[in-house]
């Protein structure tokens, strides 16, 4: 069984998305990057991100990730912010009682996007 099935598939994404997004919005280390964004569109994007991080179906390319975050990199987005979001993601999954070994796998998937997100 793959990570996505093990963690609970689309149902797990639905359960996690609002908890995760609230954590990120309240996280003073990264909240400024979300100021002024259209929350309606943002919630769907958070869902797409979680689906990918959970090992679910996605067709994002490194180039998509670079384009989507380029304006944030210009505003100073760096490794510390990336780490903060991964930490919020881990805390979300802990709150949902996801086992540690699966949380580690999710963090590892998220990690594969670091260079593209940060435009390195």
């Amino acid at each position: 069984m793959g990570l996505y099935e093990e963690i609970g598939g689309a149902g797990a994404v639905d359960a996690a998305v609002d908890i995760f997004y609230r954590k990120v919005l309240k996280d003073q280390r990264v909240s400024r990057f979300f100021a002024g964004v259209d929350m309606g569109k943002q919630a769907a994007k958070q869902k797409a991100f979680l689906t990918m991080a959970f090992g679910g179906p996605n067709n994002y390319t490194g180039l998509d990730m670079r384009k989507a975050h380029a304006h944030l990199v210009k505003q100073g987005l760096n490794d510390s912010h990336f780490d903060a979001v991964v930490e919020d993601l881990g805390a979300t999954l802990k709150e949902l009682k996801v086992p540690d070994n699966l949380i580690a796998q999710v963090a590892a998937v998220a990690e594969t996007t670091r260079n593209d997100v940060l435009g390195k």
Partner: protein, 331 residues
Amino acid sequence: MPRVVFQGSSYETDGQSVLDCLTTRGHAVPSACRAGVCQSCLMRAVRGTVPEKAQTGLTPTMVARNLFLACQCFPTQDLEVALADDVIERIEATVSAIERLNDEIRAVHLRPSRPFEYRSGQFLRLFKDARTSRNYSLASVPSLDDDLMLHVRRFSGGLVSGWIFEHLKPGDIVTISEAFGDCFYVQGRPDQNILLLGTGCGLAPLYGIARDALNSRHRGRIHLYHGTRDVSGLYLMEQLRQIDATHPNFRYRPCVSGGPSADGHWSATPLDLALKDNPDLTGWRVYLCGNPQMVNAARIETFLAGAASSEIFADPFLATGTPSAPVLNPH
């Protein structure tokens, strides 16, 4: 083999998704994840039924409008589709009355020349002429009102609002579009609490949604907060107080942001007062209409107060500067 009709052309699907079918024929349809999650490729079925899978994860209001995800849609029957917000139909309507709501706002009552399908809280486009139009929200309720009702605020130098205030009169024939937008009442959870928050003529959709919900025998709380800068901006107060007095689950709170509290209204922004009255919005459905800054702030604040992101419906009213700007949000 089912066919897809788009912008006047018809294509064999050949087992492709609607998105692939159209993009491989050179049409520009927005998309990103191609996995049914990001909702970038949202389209609308004008004719035909889309498979259920193509509407996974959409809000009830989106499903009611026949929206679907093009990347997840493998048609099993012929389907005519449009981009989610394309204006495709125009209808003639007669002005049946123009009513003064306050110094700055008029109610325009319209009688369409043929049956007009809409939900209270959606908006339509009103054309001054072929190239000049604005979007206005519907304050009327299909099952209660014979005519459509729009609230029009006069903008200084406003091409369409100026025309409405100075030239439009009962009996005139105007052109309108069909109704658009996701900000409307959906039946099915009659005990859910509903928060309605608006500024200025953002009251129009909320007035329609509130009456639609009450008329549908909604049992949960329905709390309406209407904010303006000063007392003269408030309107429909008598009607709303009347509803408040006759429906125990309905509450009306007129708010004035500049100036002291007085008999009959509160000195606060509608967002602040709503959150003070209801600090925990877990399980609530939220509708936000009017000033874009208020709407964006309220979206985040009501979400942080516990409302689910999928249950916050918003209509930021954009003041359109250029006559033919492709702005689909009402002002």
